[in-house]
């Protein structure tokens, strides 16, 4: 990443770098070596970074949301399926194979197949698409159907590892055929699907997990079986990947329009993107009042600096564990060696940065007259001083200004700033521009950044109610414009639990075990349980808050739909007179209840 920043962005006349190329290369190797040595000296940090286990719920939620976006993107391809992938479309397979088949064009012959079994492995290792072998419409539609089925199985969490692997292979059969239709969203989708293959994201919100836990509970478990924690590293790789996407795209935005603040005006005025030509007037007005130029600069800065979100996460974790006393204590020599290695990395970068300035700086270009040597010295000093200043300021704040330090940790280093700006930016893009499913896939992968507690908080917030003014901690505000402005925020911020739904059940062990299954679906903790001798064994009766009606049978199942998110997809059925009973029975059937 830093190498990207050091590389000259603009294409100019070729400059002979040979005099320092070897030294610069050596310095960069040294930097890489020091980075590796850092983790050899501090293996406990490596372990914390990659090898710990984490709550499976964010990964489970990611699988569903991301999977829905994958399916959406696939379904979006239906009108173009014949054109893009069949032999009646843009490419006859021989041409597609020649242009995009990679090694396959040598390894496979249309008449005689593969040269040997090893050729199949080689073909799979290279870019591979089934359509390079066969692309008649019937085959393409069959593969498309299989792909949709596989992605659906992945979303539902059925044989999740296998269905994810199959989804990755089949989805890439479409993407590897030819890149002519790619958009940014497709690239994000491809890249994260591979990371999904590495993730054990079927350990929560998945039918696999439900079946396992149900089996354990009905077989005699005396606790509600736990969700199994999953390795953190694939999720961390996803976070790194997102940081790379933003940082790279921010750093590559090196053209004049990103500096003079006109880039967003142009982007919003392009025929290929705007939702309605009327927007151009709005964009012009927003540019006139300075909003778009400011947004342009904020976008570039936010994207380029996004990796700071990773630094922030690490810092917050470190501070939390230090205060809890769980941060690993290491010998002084290891600590100081690691600091020295970091200093060496910065030094190597400073050296290469200085040389870059020496070669690429043109005296007279900058606002202040500097010679090349002065520019070189300035860059070296800057690269050395900036991290030192940053670390020094942080330590000073920590020691002397605890409140400011807490603010920095909470906001500047917090997910709410970096992901919050991203959410706003992407939502604005989606309202103003049609860029396919790019926005949806980018927002979906944000879920990898959440913790289990945060996902649980989302469910509880969804299932809670806003406190009334003056109730609990919610302040009573004086009527006026300020109160009107703050009301929506207060409603979001101050929330309390809703009254529970009560599940009445028989007191025998089998009935208890069956109604206990409901807890695995009760993500907002809305259920309470009461033994009731009047309820027959294996049945349940539900009473909703504020309603004395005792719902039994299909009506009970139907009553549970709004509070069990796993059944929200049945909600439209509950509104249809002919289907509501069926929906209610489907809920009860899931728990083998009557």
């Amino acid at each position: 990443m830093l190498a990207a920043l050091l590389a000259p962005a603009a294409k100019g006349p070729a400059i002979d770098l040979s005099a320092h190329m070897s030294l610069a290369t050596g310095a960069l190797w040294l930097g890489l070596g020091c980075a590796l040595a850092f983790f050899l000296v501090r293996p406990e940090l490596w372990r914390r970074l990659w090898l710990e286990r984490v709550d499976p719920r964010p990964a489970g939620l990611l699988r569903i949301v991301y999977g829905v976006v994958v399916l959406w993107t696939l379904l979006d391809l239906i009108p173009l399926l014949r054109f893009l992938f069949t032999d009646e479309g843009l490419w006859l397979p021989a041409m597609a194979r020649k242009n995009y088949g990679g090694e396959l064009r040598r390894l496979w012959d249309p008449e005689h197949g593969f040269e040997s079994w090893w050729s199949v492995v080689q073909a799979l290792w290279a870019k591979f698409s089934l359509f390079h072998l066969r692309a008649d419409p019937a085959f393409v539609w069959a593969v498309f159907g299989l792909t949709c089925a596989s992605v659906t199985a992945m979303i539902l969490g059925i044989k999740t590892r296998l269905s994810t692997l199959l989804s990755w292979f089949l989805v890439n059969t479409f993407y590897s055929y030819s890149p002519v239709f790619y958009s940014g969203g497709d690239t994000v989708l491809r890249v994260f699907l591979f990371l999904g293959v590495l993730t054990r994201w079927g350990e929560a919100y998945a039918l696999d997990t439900w079946w396992r836990r149900r089996r354990e509970l009905l077989a005699g478990s005396v606790v509600v079986p736990a969700l199994r924690q999953i390795p953190a590293w694939p999720l961390r790789l996803m976070m790194l990947q997102l940081a790379i996407i933003y940082c790279a795209t921010g750093a590559l935005k090196s053209g004049l329009t990103w500096f003079d603040g006109t880039a967003l005006f142009y982007a919003l005025s392009l025929d290929h993107f705007y939702r309605h030509p009327f927007q151009i007037q709005v964009a012009t007005f927003l540019h006139m009042i300075g909003f778009l130029p400011l947004s342009t600069w904020v976008t570039k800065a936010w994207e380029t600096l996004f990796p700071l979100a990773l630094v922030g996460l690490a810092l917050r974790r470190c501070e939390r564990e230090l205060s809890e006393g769980t941060w690993p204590k290491v010998q002084a020599w290891r600590r100081w060696s690691s600091y020295a290695l970091i200093a060496a990395i910065v030094g190597a970068l400073a050296y290469v940065g200085g040389l870059t300035a020496w070669y690429y700086y043109s005296p007279g270009e900058g606002p202040v007259q500097l010679s090349r040597a002065q520019a070189q010295a300035l860059v070296v000093a800057g690269v050395l001083a900036f991290p030192a200043l940053l670390v020094g300021s942080y330590l000073w704040l920590r020691a002397r200004r605890p409140r400011a330090h807490a603010w920095v940790l909470r906001w500047l280093c917090g997910k709410r700033l970096w992901l919050g700006v991203g959410v706003i930016m992407h939502l604005v893009i989606d309202v103003a521009m049609n860029v396919g499913t790019f926005v949806q896939v980018m927002l979906a992968v944000y879920i990898a950044w959440l913790s289990g507690a945060e996902v649980e908080a989302v469910w509880r917030t969804l299932m809670s109610r806003p406190l009334a003014e003056g109730e609990g901690a919610r302040p009573r505000r004086k009527p006026g414009w300020k109160a009107s402005l703050l009301r929506p925020l207060d409603r979001l911020r101050y929330r309390g639990p809703r009254a529970p739904y009560v599940v009445h059940h028989a007191a025998d062990e089998a009935s208890i075990r069956r109604v206990a299954l409901l807890r695995m679906w009760d993500l907002g903790a809305r259920l309470q349980f009461a033994a009731d001798p009047s309820v027959p064994a294996g049945a349940l009766v539900v009473t909703a808050p504020g309603d004395a009606t005792r719902h039994a049978g299909a009506a009970a199942g139907r009553a549970l739909v709004p509070i069990l998110p796993g059944f929200w997809w049945l909600y439209p059925w509950c509104l249809a007179p002919g289907l509501r009973t069926l929906a209610g029975r489907a809920v009860l059937r899931t728990f083998e209840l009557r």
């Binding site: 610069a24 960069l28 710990e52 173009l80 005689h112 591979f194 880039a263 396919g436």
Partner: protein, 300 residues
């Protein structure tokens, strides 16, 4: 129900219906130990370094380092194999400042030139809700000219498919574009009508359906639609070389060598008659041939 069993079910109800769900304590905080930890660490390290190498531009003073790292890690192959090839130059280095469209026209056998309306200029319905990939592809044909020939070939084939198998004569392309005015200009008029902007046009190279590779509807597809096969030799194939063709080419070379060596052998026969090892080069060649023997055999 006896008292103890009643107590039992009460305890069970408390545990299952009211106690917090169990937590996975598992094997402590770590996902792996020992060799598994080492293997996962190596993979994570490899993926991370390969990803960073792949996404950083190889230019300037980092060029050699970047190239050598890529060679060492074979990161290009890894990225292709995992479908992780990526480039993030979105609206970079600048967003486009022109709207570009490619007008696509066919010249029929009757000499008529017809606009196929493949460009979106003035034809899109607003609000623009459903993503139109064809609009993107149309623009990409201009950004990356290598797509123009296959696209023209498809137009020829598609025309033939939908016109009883009869292909058009030619496909003509015209580049059209409008320039988005600078914001300072747009502010003067408080915006602009994109369809009132001056439309520039430039004719591009056209493609003949008879000579452009793959611009002829192949017999296999013609048969699907009940069209008569193409005249012999009129389908223009692309140049592909599979293992089979390479093997055949190698076999031909070997055959030629053998013929040459055989002639040489006959010439020197009075001196070296019966001296088998006298042809090391040829022997090597034969071994080479034996290596692809299966292929040779298959080709017979």
């Amino acid at each position: 129900m006896s008292r103890p069993s009643h107590d039992g079910t009460t305890r069970l109800a408390d545990a299952l219906l009211r106690a917090p769900p169990a937590e996975d304590v598992g094997d402590g905080p770590w996902a792996y130990r020992g060799w598994a930890a080492l293997l996962v660490s190596l993979f994570v390290l490899y993926h991370t370094v390969a990803l960073l190498q792949h996404t950083t531009p190889a230019s300037g003073l980092s060029e050699r380092f970047n190239r050598r790292l890529a060679e060492l890690l074979r990161s290009g192959a890894y990225m292709r194999a995992t479908s992780s090839v990526q480039s993030w130059a979105m609206f970079a280095p600048n967003p486009h400042r022109t709207n570009m469209f490619l007008q696509v026209r066919v010249v029929t056998q009757a000499g008529e030139e017809i606009d196929l309306l493949h460009d979106i200029y003035g034809r899109r319905d607003y609000p623009y809700f459903f993503y139109d990939r064809m609009g993107k592809i149309n623009r990409r044909l201009l950004e990356q000219e290598r797509y123009q020939s296959p696209y023209a070939a498809w137009v020829c084939r598609e025309w033939a498919r939908t016109h009883g198998g009869e292909p058009p004569v030619r496909v003509n392309f015209t580049k059209m574009w409008t320039k988005v005015p600078h914001p300072s200009k747009a502010i003067e008029t408080m915006g602009f009508d994109p369809f009132e902007l001056k439309l520039y046009k430039e004719d591009l190279k056209g493609f003949d359906c008879a000579t452009t590779p793959h611009a002829q509807l192949p017999d296999q597809i013609r048969a699907r639609y009940g069209f008569a096969p193409l005249p012999a030799g009129s389908f223009v194939e692309v140049d592909t070389t599979s293992w089979r063709e390479r093997a055949a080419a190698r076999a031909k070379i070997l055959e030629r060598r053998r013929a040459v060596d055989g002639k040489r052998k006959r010439d020197v026969a009075p001196v070296e008659d019966g001296d088998e090892p006298a042809l090391p080069a040829e022997g090597g060649g034969n071994e080479g041939g034996a290596e692809v023997g299966g292929a040779d055999g298959g080709g017979d």
